[in-house]
């Protein structure tokens, strides 16, 4: 997933090359094609973020679909002050917190594990590295996990992350520093195993 493809950039194959704000304006006016274009433009990033936060594709798809439904419902009140993705990621993050809260009350489903059977040695090694990273990120506290995912995988800086989370920039900064330090420890432990 590319870190450069974010914000209101026009993506080839979008609705007439319209930016996100324009698509939202048309969605509010009842243009379903514009809304479909908006969903297609951002679905991969929304799914990836939800998956990394929740650890399950089925839950990520559920959250992703619900996030876009919320976008549709609020399209009429949408004001293009910041990037569209800032608002979208905030909705996704909130839905993921809600999901995790529900799981904390009921027995949480186990994270999915990919089967490495029948793969060549280098592919198995890549899988193991991926699993190690996944375990390390999953072991972070919720806030640290969110800032790491938004920073490393969504390519956002600490000010943008502050806009999404509603935390202060300095709080995000210290969260990010602690998260990277913790991951450094965890990943070096994994390597030494």
């Amino acid at each position: 997933m590319s870190d450069s493809n974010q914000g209101n950039e026009c993506v080839a194959g979008g609705s007439d090359g319209a930016d996100d704000h324009e698509l939202m304006r048309r969605t509010a006016a009842g243009d379903h094609a514009a809304f479909a274009a908006l969903v297609r433009r951002h679905q991969a990033r929304v799914l990836a973020l939800a998956y990394r936060l929740l650890g399950r594709w089925d839950a990520a798809e559920d959250v992703g679909a619900e996030a876009f439904v919320r976008v549709y419902e609020r399209a009429r009140n949408y004001e293009p002050q910041a990037q569209f993705t800032t608002w979208l990621y905030r909705i996704v993050a909130n839905l993921c917190w809600d999901q995790r809260r529900r799981w904390s009350r009921a027995p949480a489903p186990l994270p999915e594990r990919e089967d490495a059977g029948g793969k060549p040695a280098d592919a198995i090694e890549r899988d193991e590295t991926r699993q190690a990273v996944r375990r390390a990120v999953a072991s972070l506290p919720d806030r640290q996990r969110l800032v790491i995912l938004l920073h490393r995988f969504e390519g956002l800086d600490h000010r943008e992350i502050a806009d999404i989370t509603g935390w202060s920039a300095s709080a995000v900064e210290s969260c990010l520093v602690r998260a990277y330090a913790r991951l450094r420890e965890l990943l070096s432990c994994e390597k030494s195993k």
Binding site: M1, G30, V39, R40, R52, G64, V69, T129
Partner: protein, 153 residues
């Protein structure tokens, strides 16, 4: 000489810091370079976690959910039609009920209700229609010699 802060090293590792001074410091300062290498190793290691969505398209799932939401029906024009149909149905039901009630109630009302306007008149009419052995007609009659109990020897 000010060493680079951890957040600056993270920004440099992610390639989002366009600060020439920080870059220059990094080249000149061995301790900062070692710290930077550690941050970059962590940053690069995280890149191993690729996430390829199992479901390519979210749109069908979004559409399915929207069909059950009022906002979708409203914006798609279906809401207006549904509202009109509801109003029309309410009018038809109201008129039908009114008509049915009218037919059911009006014959009974004419049969049982006296056209009288006060209770005394109504009782008199009732007594005239239904002669009573108890002398109710006499009691209500105008002639005191006939109707008054005191006139009876």
């Amino acid at each position: 000489m000010r060493h680079l802060q951890e957040i600056e090293l993270i920004a440099l590792a992610s390639g989002r810091a366009a600060d020439d001074a920080a870059q220059a410091h990094l080249e000149a300062c061995e301790p900062c370079r070692r710290r930077f290498d550690a941050v970059r190793r962590t940053y690069d290691a995280l890149g191993a976690w690729t996430a390829e969505p199992a479901a390519g398209e979210l749109w069908p799932a979004v559409q399915r959910r929207l069909l059950h939401r009022p906002a979708f029906a409203e914006r798609s024009g279906r809401g207006r039609v549904i509202r009109l149909l509801r109003v029309a149905a309410a009018i038809v039901i109201g008129v039908g009920l009114g008509h049915g009630a009218g037919r059911l109630w009006s014959p009974a009302r004419t049969a049982s209700s006296p056209p009288a306007t006060d209770v005394g008149e109504a009782l008199a009419l009732y007594a005239l229609e239904n002669p009573s052995p108890t002398g109710l007609v006499m009691i209500l009659g105008d002639d005191p010699g006939v109707g008054n109990a005191e006139g009876v020897p």
